[in-house]
C-alpha cells in the first residue's frame, strides 16, 4: 500500500537567463511504514522534490506537471487551504540546520504549542506539558523541563535536531520528510540522531523520505533508495541492491568516490566527461 506516489513530476523554474528544468519527469513511491532515501549531489533536485510534496514551491515562476498522490489525494490539484491541513499535520518536515529553522524569539515550549494548536484545537491544554515531556523523552532528551524552557541558541546542534524531530512528531504525521537531517552534526552525534530517528519512526509506524548526499548515512537508515542526478532518477532499488550491485554507472562512480577507512590512498577515478544520462534508468 502506497502512502505517497509521485508520477512523472516535472518542475521548471523561469528566471532571468531562461528556464531551468529542476525535475525531469521523476516517479517515486513510498509504501506505508517504509523508509525511503533520495540520494544525489547538490543541485540534483532532491530538496525541490521535498518542497513540491509540501507545496512550499508555488510561485508564478514555476511551471509544474505530473502528479503527487498522498493517500489518493493529488496534492498538486488541492487548494491552499487543504494543503495547509495536510502540511505539518499529516506530512511534516525536518530541515538541515536545526538552529536556524527554529524561531529564535520563542522557547521550545512555545513553538511546540504553536505546532500543536495550529492543527489540533481540541487538544486539552492541561495535558500538553506531559505530552511534550513524553515526546522529548522519546528522542532521548534527559532533562525535558530545561529544554522546554530553552531558546534555540541555548541548545547544542544535536539537541536542537532532536527537538526538531520531536516537533515534527507532534501531530503524529503519517509521513516525515527529512532534508539532510544530520549534515550539520558531528559523526558521533549523527549516529545517535539517526538511531533515534529510526526508532521513533518505526515505533509510530510512520513512513519517511530521507534526503541526503551521504551514502553512508543512507545505508544505515533506508529500506529503499532512489538515486537522483540533475533532476532525473537514474537508479532505484533496495538498499542492499544499490550497495551490493549498483547498476548505473553514476551510482558505481559515487560509491567508488567515497573515501574508505580501510584504504590509505584516494581512489583513482576519471570522472571527467562522463555523460551519465547516456545510460538508461536502472531499476532492480
Amino acid at each position: 500500500m502506497k502512502i505517497l506516489s509521485i508520477k512523472n513530476l516535472e518542475v521548471k523554474f523561469k528566471h532571468f537567463e531562461g528556464i531551468t528544468t529542476a525535475l525531469k519527469k521523476i516517479s517515486l513511491d513510498i509504501n506505508h511504514g517504509e523508509r525511503v532515501a533520495l540520494v544525489g549531489e547538490s543541485g540534483s533536485g532532491k530538496s525541490v522534490t521535498a518542497r513540491m510534496i509540501l507545496g512550499l514551491l508555488s510561485s508564478s515562476n514555476i511551471s509544474k506537471s505530473g502528479e503527487i498522490f498522498f493517500e489518493g489525494v493529488n496534492l498538486l490539484k488541492e487548494s491552499n487551504t487543504n494543503i495547509k491541513k495536510i502540511r505539518g499535520n499529516e506530512i511534516s518536515m525536518i530541515f538541515q540546520d536545526p538552529v536556524s529553522s527554529m524561531n529564535p524569539y520563542f522557547t521550545v515550549r512555545k513553538q511546540m504549542q504553536q505546532a500543536l494548536e495550529n492543527h489540533n484545537q481540541t487538544f486539552n491544554k492541561k495535558n500538553t506539558e506531559e505530552y511534550f515531556t513524553h515526546l522529548l523523552r522519546d528522542v532521548k532528551i534527559e532533562d525535558p523541563a530545561r529544554v522546554l524552557d530553552s531558546y534555540a541558541f541555548q541548545l547544542s546542534g544535536g539537541m536542537a535536531q532532536r527537538v526538531m524531530i520531536s516537533m515534527a512528531m507532534i501531530n503524529k504525521p503519517k509521513l516525515i520528510l527529512a532534508d539532510e537531517p544530520t549534515t550539520a552534526l558531528d559523526v558521533t552525534v549523527q549516529k545517535t540522531v539517526l538511531s533515534i530517528m529510526k526508532e521513533v519512526v518505526s515505533q509510530n509506524k510512520m513512513s519517511m523520505l530521507l534526503i541526503s548526499h551521504n551514502l553512508g548515512v543512507v545505508k544505515e537508515f533506508a529500506d529503499r533508495i532512489y538515486v537522483i542526478y540533475q533532476g532525473r532518477i537514474l537508479e532505484e532499488g533496495t538498499t542492499k541492491q544499490i550497495f551490493n550491485s549498483p547498476g548505473h554507472l553514476y551510482t558505481q562512480t559515487l560509491l567508488q568516490a567515497i573515501p574508505k577507512i580501510n584504504s590509505s590512498r584516494l581512489p583513482d577515478l576519471n570522472t571527467e566527461n562522463i555523460d551519465y544520462f547516456k545510460q538508461p534508468k536502472f531499476t532492480h
Binding site: E41, T188, Q190, G216, K219, T253, I258, L266, D268, T271
Partner: protein, 260 residues
C-alpha cells in the same frame, strides 16, 4: 629524524566568557616535520579551529610556544606570516564577493611583494593553472563559480604567497563526493609538486585516513591520541578514538570489519 618544521609546546588558550574561563586549547604539544600531512580531528567544540588560529597568529596564546624552524614565531614579521597560509571551510564566505578572481589573487602578491607588478598577471595565470583553471576565470566573480571552483580559488590564493605550510579547515565538507575527490587529488598533487606541508582540520575521518600520514585526535581542548594515521585507525588506543571510528558511516563490509 629530521628537524621539525613546526614545534608546538604546552600551548594553552583561555577565553573569558562572562565571568567564567573557557579553556579552548589545553596544554597541547606536538611536532610537525617538513612534508608531513597532519590531520587534527575532533568534534565541534574540541578546540581544533582555535588551535589553527593560534598557529596562524589570528589568536594570541595564553601560554606556551609555537616554534618555526627552531625559532619562536613572531607574527609581526610579515615574511614569516606568509609561510603559513590558510584555506577556509566555506569558499563563498571567505572570498570577497565584490572582487573578481584577478583582484582576489592579486592582493596577496602585492602585499607580500611576491613579484614585480608587470609579472603579476603571469603569476596569477600560473596560480590558476596549479588548480586546474584557466585564464577565462580572471574576470569572473565568486558567485558565478561552482562550489568546487570556488574552493580551487581559495587554494590558489593560499598558494600565492609561496607558503611552506597550508592549514585547511574542513576543506571539502561543503562539497559533493565527486568534487571532494577531485579537490583532494589536486591537493596531493600540489603537495608533491610544490613540496608543501599540510595541516588538515576535519571531522571526516574517512578523508583523514586517505590524505594524512599523521593523525591527532582532540577532545575538549586536549590531545586524546596522536600517532601515524594507519596506527590510529588499525589499533586505536583510547576509547574516544574508538567511538569516533565506530561512528563513521561506512558503505562496505570490509570497512565495517576493521571498526574497533
Amino acid at each position: 629524524m629530521s628537524e621539525p618544521l613546526l614545534e608546538i609546546q604546552n600551548l594553552k588558550k583561555n577565553f573569558k566568557v562572562g565571568l567564567s574561563n573557557v579553556v579552548a586549547v589545553d596544554d597541547i604539544s606536538f611536532n610537525i616535520a617538513k612534508y608531513d600531512s597532519v590531520s587534527i580531528v575532533g568534534e565541534s567544540g574540541s578546540g581544533k579551529t582555535t588551535l589553527a588560529n593560534l598557529i596562524l597568529g589570528v589568536e594570541k596564546q595564553t601560554s606556551g610556544s609555537i616554534r618555526y624552524n627552531g625559532n619562536e614565531i613572531d607574527f609581526s614579521n610579515k615574511d614569516l606570516r606568509k609561510t603559513i597560509q590558510f584555506v577556509q571551510q566555506n569558499p563563498l564566505s571567505s572570498l570577497n564577493p565584490k572582487k573578481t578572481i584577478y583582484q582576489t589573487l592579486e592582493l596577496p602578491l602585492k602585499i607580500h611583494n611576491i613579484c614585480q607588478s608587470k609579472e603579476i598577471k603571469n603569476k596569477i595565470i600560473q596560480l590558476l593553472q596549479y588548480v586546474d583553471l584557466d585564464e577565462s576565470y580572471l574576470e569572473r566573480h565568486p558567485y558565478s563559480l561552482s562550489g568546487g571552483q570556488r574552493q580551487r580559488i581559495s587554494v590558489a590564493r593560499a598558494l600565492a604567497c609561496e607558503p611552506e605550510i597550508i592549514i585547511f579547515d574542513e576543506p571539502t565538507s561543503a562539497l559533493d563526493v565527486l568534487i571532494q575527490l577531485k579537490i583532494l587529488n589536486l591537493l596531493s598533487e600540489l603537495k608533491e609538486k610544490l613540496q608543501l606541508t599540510y595541516i588538515f582540520i576535519t571531522h571526516d575521518l574517512a578523508v583523514v585516513r586517505n590524505i594524512s600520514n599523521k593523525t591527532i585526535v582532540m577532545n575538549k581542548g586536549r590531545i586524546v591520541e596522536m600517532n601515524n594515521t594507519q596506527k590510529v585507525f588499525e589499533s586505536p588506543k583510547e576509547e574516544y578514538t574508538k567511538e569516533l571510528i565506530r561512528s563513521i558511516p561506512t558503505i562496505t563490509e570490509e570497512e565495517e570489519k576493521i571498526k574497533p
